[in-house]
Symmetry: C2
Subunit: 215 residues, 2 copies
């Protein structure tokens, strides 16, 4: 059985996966880049921008798990673009001509459109479906590999609540955002289905790694 | 200058310092003992109950910081007793004849009563005062030593928000309570005033240690 996996999902100490005031200029609202600086400081993070250098310790090792074995991604509408992207027929995501997914990528939206083929193997498919059905569709496209549950906050919470996630890697950044979207809301007792490993990195972030318990 | 210190303050992964439904039988509501099992597994924790044994690693070393150098404690009304304790003239706290404070201990309440002298050096004083004024009073009683900010959740949040805390030790337990009192609410950007050290214990909990930045 293949797995559904969450990777590099950054949250603040108070549990926010994004701030308030999301826009084209500020994809994470008032959080700015603070939730993801840890990743951009790694070799994995710098390579995403075609640059060199970066750390190669535990942050990097865990960040790199993002790619191996993944055959498709599902993301929520709020990850694909700023509020209102559905009204822009030319919007193709934040990531330029060669997005970092390199697989079929399913965007959950109430306003599906035709697929968009990008460079590097990423094709965006637009899908209106509940979590379990979306995962089935992505599994078929993943061709025997795992499916990445890509975010944003709301869809991650929905997939966790539906019991569809096999592996989840959260990265807790020691900042207090105070406002935004909380990832843990409505997930009482979630830990009972998982083995949880916690790693405090010298960089200051804390990795929380959830693996579904063997049933 | 002496310090105001928080110790062994346990929270869930979703930031709750207590659950819902607090009562005489369930001081932490539906959280039960889950937030504090880590502490009761240490030598420090077993000694609180006059027993022997327990772990002597990082959890124990940090838990033991609770006592040295403390000359007084301030606690909120919700820590001193279950809802309605103010109506019980005989209520003397949860802790039996010899409470684990061993110093003057100031209980913040809108319904002050006469002091209660317990065994072992603990005297409960009842005080209606805002945080800064309460801290001044406790500092005088502490006679050159530090003051412990004892909880519960609301008063810890109030003292943090007022900028009165010099050192804070939170212990994040990997459970999701879903409901209760959140410690981080209203503390946006709190981290900017502190150096924060994070330690993941083999026991599964994560220690978050805040030390006020040198000004």
């Amino acid at each position: 059985m293949t797995r559904a996996r969450i990777h590099n999902f950054s949250i603040s100490l108070d549990g926010f996966g994004t701030g308030v005031g999301q826009s084209l200029e500020t994809p994470f609202g008032h959080a700015g880049h603070r939730l993801h600086e840890w990743m951009f400081a790694t070799r994995f993070g710098t390579s995403m921008f075609g640059r060199e250098g970066g750390s190669s310790g535990v942050d990097n090792a865990l960040a790199q798990q993002f790619e191996p074995g993944i055959g498709a991604e599902i993301m929520g509408a709020n990850k694909f673009g700023p509020p209102g992207w559905q009204d822009d027929a030319d919007w193709k995501g934040w990531w330029g001509p060669n997005p970092p997914f390199h697989t079929p990528t399913f965007v959950l939206t109430h306003r599906p459109r035709s697929p968009i083929e990008m460079e590097g193997g990423t094709t965006f498919h637009f899908l209106e479906a509940p979590p379990a059905e979306a995962l089935d569709t992505a599994r078929q496209a993943a061709d025997g590999k795992d499916v990445r549950i890509g975010g944003g906050v709301t869809m991650v919470r929905d997939f966790l609540a539906a019991g569809l996630v096999d592996h989840a890697h959260f990265v807790q950044v020691p900042i207090l955002l105070g406002r935004g979207e909380r990832v843990w809301d409505g997930l009482e007792d979630l830990e009972q289905g998982y083995d949880i490993e916690t790693v405090a990195s010298p960089s200051g972030v804390t990795h929380l790694i959830f693996d579904r318990k063997a049933s």
